[in-house]
């Protein structure tokens, strides 16, 4: 079975094609979905919300995109048990929709950080992370100005108790609480992460540590982990 993915495109998205290319490299069937659409293609296994600067980061990163017509359909898709992956600006958008808890603030050093960063895989209990080893160190590019994760102490406690931190930074680049780089929803089917796995899937990218996210999703096809929503 082939993974059937929809990649959402907003004005200002700039990682949408990279994400589609990465998904296709792992044999996914991909459709691009415009932000003004009100419905998703039927039968999707995965909705991917790409990085970029949707709506110019006006008001707050991801705030306007989160209220776009397609995101209503994405929220319904997630609530029905669909898998959703938000990367970088996509993570910011998922937080603004409320599908994931917390918020992302300006990096503690106020700088836009664009470099390879070492991460620790904190949980392997999800379709996105099942192909990594617990505690595995991987290297993925980060490229963001607002990746400083913050949440109420209660939320942080819940994320840890429920093993919902997917990735942590090894070296605290941006001030994120608990070094959080990516988190899962309560049903473990929505992942938001600041680092870019789609930029680390080919040797000429300088590393292939992002591949696990896509092979994990592809392998989850046909198993009980992914069910068509």
């Amino acid at each position: 079975m082939t993974l059937y993915a929809g990649v959402i495109v907003f004005p200002g998205s700039n990682c949408d094609r990279d994400l589609a290319t990465a998904l296709r490299a792992f044999d996914a069937h991909v459709e691009m979905v415009w932000h003004k659409d009100t419905t998703l293609p039927t039968g999707l296994d995965l909705v991917a919300v790409p990085g970029g600067f949707s709506f110019g980061d006006y008001l707050r990163c991801g705030a306007i995109a989160a209220k776009s017509p397609i995101m209503r359909a994405v929220i319904e898709f997630a609530n029905a048990g669909g898998h959703v992956l938000g990367i970088c600006n996509g993570f910011q958008i998922l937080l603004e929709t409320g599908l994931l808890p917390g918020a992302l603030m300006r990096n503690a050093n106020l700088r836009f950080i664009c470099r390879q960063e070492e991460l620790v895989v904190s949980t392997t209990a999800s379709a996105f992370t099942r192909h990594y080893k617990p505690g595995q160190h991987i290297r993925l590019p980060i490229a963001h100005h607002d990746g400083n994760y913050i949440a109420e102490p209660e939320v942080l406690k819940t994320l840890n108790l429920e093993d919902r931190v997917a990735f942590r930074y090894a070296n605290a680049p941006n001030g994120a609480m608990d070094n959080i780089a990516g988190i899962l929803s309560a049903n473990r089917r929505v992942l938001g992460m600041m680092p870019h796995p789609e930029r680390a899937v080919d040797e000429w990218h300088g590393g292939v540590d992002g591949s696990g996210v896509f092979t994990g999703l592809a392998a989850a096809m046909g198993s009980e982990l992914l069910q068509r929503a």
Partner: protein, 79 residues
């Protein structure tokens, strides 16, 4: 009528921009500044409404879009 929405980071949320400005003020000799918080002001020109109704509408706008209540507080004034 005009509504002016002030959006600021909640107390207790570290404001790195405010900190940078505080340092810069200190370098200019304004070392007496103990804390700086940076926010934004959003001005809304509205069709005339009853005061209660206007306040209700603008509060909804703040909750739904203008502020991220996870990290921000808002305050509305009308003129």
């Amino acid at each position: 009528m005009r509504a002016r929405v002030h959006v600021t980071l909640k107390n207790g949320v570290l404001d790195p921009q405010g900190e940078a400005v505080r340092h810069a003020l200190g370098a200019l000799g304004f070392g007496d500044v103990e804390n700086v918080r940076i926010g934004k002001v959003i001005e809304l020109d509205l069709a005339d409404l009853e005061a209660d109704e206007a306040e209700n509408r603008v509060t909804q706008m703040c909750e739904k879009l203008l502020a991220n209540t996870v990290i921000e507080d808002y305050r509305v004034e009308f003129e």
